[in-house]
């Protein structure tokens, strides 16, 4: 979109006006003319934006060229004005240049001379235009940056999550109102201060420092839960890197998770309440069924006995579910593993295996226990440990066909005591493996349909292991068997 170049010729001599018009329009430039200073100035005022170059005769009747030059430049100092001077009147040319004319041309001139002078002025004009464009662009960019800055500031300040930004020297360089509120501090107490001066919870300072120490390239983020008074916070910290990958600071996002914790607590309480309320009547029903089945309340027909037996089994299943739910809510509330003591795990397992031997013999399952002569003690809750192995071993017996084998081994691995429960049972499908520790998840196959269970056993086991800072893993091959491995830290 090349706008047509506009050249204004101001000269009292018609020959010059016509001559210039003819020469310049041949090159595709638009020419307008004025025959005196006043007319010229009027055009300049009207068409300032579209004028590129002005050719101005210095010697004119009425307002002379010098005066026109001054007035024109006072309208717009950027105007490119070429003065036309009489032959050999260099002095006036110099004077005009001093006053701000761009160039001069002496009369008489050849068409080529005119073209050269105008062309040079036009090149200058192009540069001027480009410079103007760049200036505008820069202005716009600066405005954009300012807008963006203000927008980001508003976003950060409006956020419900707290944000803390630290520089490499652990000095806080940004904190939003949510962060100051969560940390029960004020902006002036945090901003510009180093972490050690801010009186922050020690866990928070630690994870921020940890984030700043992150050395390896790539994205690292640290997440941590902490409490301030009644408030539960979750803090995520990630390092900020420069283009060389060096850590130049860190961003920490704080989330108030108190309401989640409260909901969780209410849920646990609700489950505990409901199960307690359910337990008493169901236990009474089971007791009544026991009395009936023992024929204490009179003889039963074969059919009645069969129905009552089935009813008792169902009630027992319900009671099992309630017990599992209670265990789970107790573990989740942190009430289950409060009594940690130094334990020989071998002793616990031996006791459970002795109890399970009857069940194993009934199914003709070979129950083997391999205990090392010496094993480190662990710090654990005895009841929960019994619970873990009762669950795992009874599962192994349940899911192993007659004549199979269940073996339990105990050994040490690094700073852990390792226990394994293996069976030669039906195994677990690959796609079921990741979910078997989920609450209420039960593997459904034709083989498991007959087996009674609540789907809570393994999630209870996992919760207990977690509460002891241990880990549990499972390996299984369909049709071959399953091995559960538990690692518990040495005491």
């Amino acid at each position: 979109m090349c706008e047509q170049v506009k050249i204004l010729v101001i000269d009292d001599e018609q020959i010059i006006r016509d001559g210039c018009s003819r020469i310049l329009s041949k090159d595709g430039w638009g020419v307008i003319t004025a025959e005196n200073g006043n007319q010229g100035l009027n055009i300049i005022q009207e068409k300032l934006e579209s004028l590129d170059v002005i050719l101005l005769d210095l010697m004119m009747p009425g307002m002379n060229g010098m005066e026109v030059l001054e007035k024109a430049l006072s309208i717009c100092p950027n105007l490119l004005i070429i003065v036309i001077t009489g032959y050999a009147t260099v002095e006036s040319a110099v004077e005009a240049m001093k006053k701000g004319a761009y160039d001069f041309i002496s009369k008489p001139f050849t068409p080529d001379q005119l073209r050269i002078v105008v062309k040079r002025a036009l090149e200058r004009r192009a540069l001027q235009k480009e410079a103007e464009l760049l200036r505008l662009e820069r202005e716009r960019t600066l405005r954009d940056i300012a807008t963006e800055k203000s927008r980001i500031k508003t976003i950060i300040n409006c956020m419900v999550d707290g944000i803390l930004v630290c520089d490499r020297e652990s000095c806080i360089v940004l904190c939003n109102p949510a962060a100051t509120l969560m940390l029960k501090s004020s902006e002036s107490n945090l901003l510009g201060k180093s972490l050690s001066q801010c009186n922050l919870p020690i866990e928070l300072s630690n994870i921020i420092e940890e984030g700043l120490r992150a050395n390896e390239r790539g994205y690292t983020s640290v997440s941590h839960e902490l409490t301030i008074g009644e408030t539960y916070l979750r803090a995520h910290t990630a390092p900020v890197r420069n283009d060389l990958g060096e850590v130049i600071g860190s961003v920490t996002v704080l989330q108030d998770i108190s309401h989640l914790k409260e909901l969780d607590r209410m849920k646990s309480e609700f489950i505990a309440m409901v199960t307690h309320e359910l337990r008493a009547p169901i236990a009474a029903i089971e007791q009544q069924l026991t009395v009936l089945l023992n024929k204490i309340a009179g003889e039963l027909t074969e059919k009645q006995e069969k129905i009552l037996l089935r009813a008792k089994e169902r009630v027992k299943g319900l009671l099992d579910l309630i017990k599992d739910l209670l265990d789970l809510s107790k573990i989740e509330a942190g009430k289950m593993v409060q009594y940690k003591e130094p334990l020989y795990l071998g002793e616990v397992i031996q006791k459970v295996v002795d109890l399970m031997r009857v069940d194993a013999e009934q199914k003709k399952i070979d129950l083997q226990l391999f205990l090392p002569d010496e094993i480190s003690i662990i710090n654990a809750d005895r009841n929960s440990m019994e619970g873990i192995f009762t669950n795992l071993i009874s599962n192994a017996i349940k899911y192993t066909p007659e004549g199979g084998r269940v073996s339990i081994t105990l050994s040490e691995e690094g700073s852990f005591v390792k226990s394994q429960v293996s069976d030669t049972g039906i195994g677990i499908k690959k796609e079921d493996l990741p979910r078997i520790f989920d609450k209420f998840y039960r593997v459904k196959t034709s083989q498991t349909r007959q087996i009674v269970g609540t789907g809570l056993g393994l999630s209870i086991v996992k919760s207990i292991v977690d509460a002891h800072m241990g880990s549990i893993s499972v390996e299984s091959e369909e049709g071959k068997g399953t091995t559960f491995t538990i690692l518990l830290p040495k005491g």
Binding site: Q287, T290, V291, L319, K323, L326, R382, N383, I460
Partner: protein, 127 residues
């Protein structure tokens, strides 16, 4: 002469079921439906043995047992604590500890199997 057993439990259906088990074994049974009533009947009915539920709203079994054992007149009556199994994870040790603290003579998990209950009671009565 038939031995007299006092059953203390706030659940009337459970009292009835346990009574029937004991009556079928020719024990004389009397019932109390709460901890406070249980203490009174322990004094007035002079039972040979008390089957005592743990979880009761007015006064729990541990408290009742403590008072029984503190009373020189009643301390010789054997007490069988009826504990509700509230957990699949074995709580035997916990129950034993609580049982020892309250000086109960034995404990049994609810719901009870008739033969087990009768065996435990016989053992306590011939002590």
């Amino acid at each position: 002469m038939a031995k007299k057993i006092l059953i203390v439990d706030d659940d009337p259906d459970l009292v009835e079921a346990v009574s029937m088990i004991l009556e079928s074994k020719n024990y004389e049974v009397s019932a109390a439906y709460g901890g406070i009533e249980g203490l009174q009947k322990a004094k007035t009915e002079n039972p040979d043995l008390i089957v005592l539920d743990v979880m009761m709203p007015d006064k729990d079994g541990y408290a009742v047992c403590k008072e029984l054992k503190a009373d020189p007149e009643l301390s010789k009556i054997p007490v069988l604590l009826l504990t509700a199994v509230v957990s699949k994870i074995p709580t035997t040790r916990y129950t034993q500890q609580m049982g020892l603290e309250t000086e109960a003579d034995d404990y049994i998990d609810k719901p009870v199997e008739p033969e087990v209950l009768v065996k435990r009671i016989e053992a306590l009565l011939t002590k």
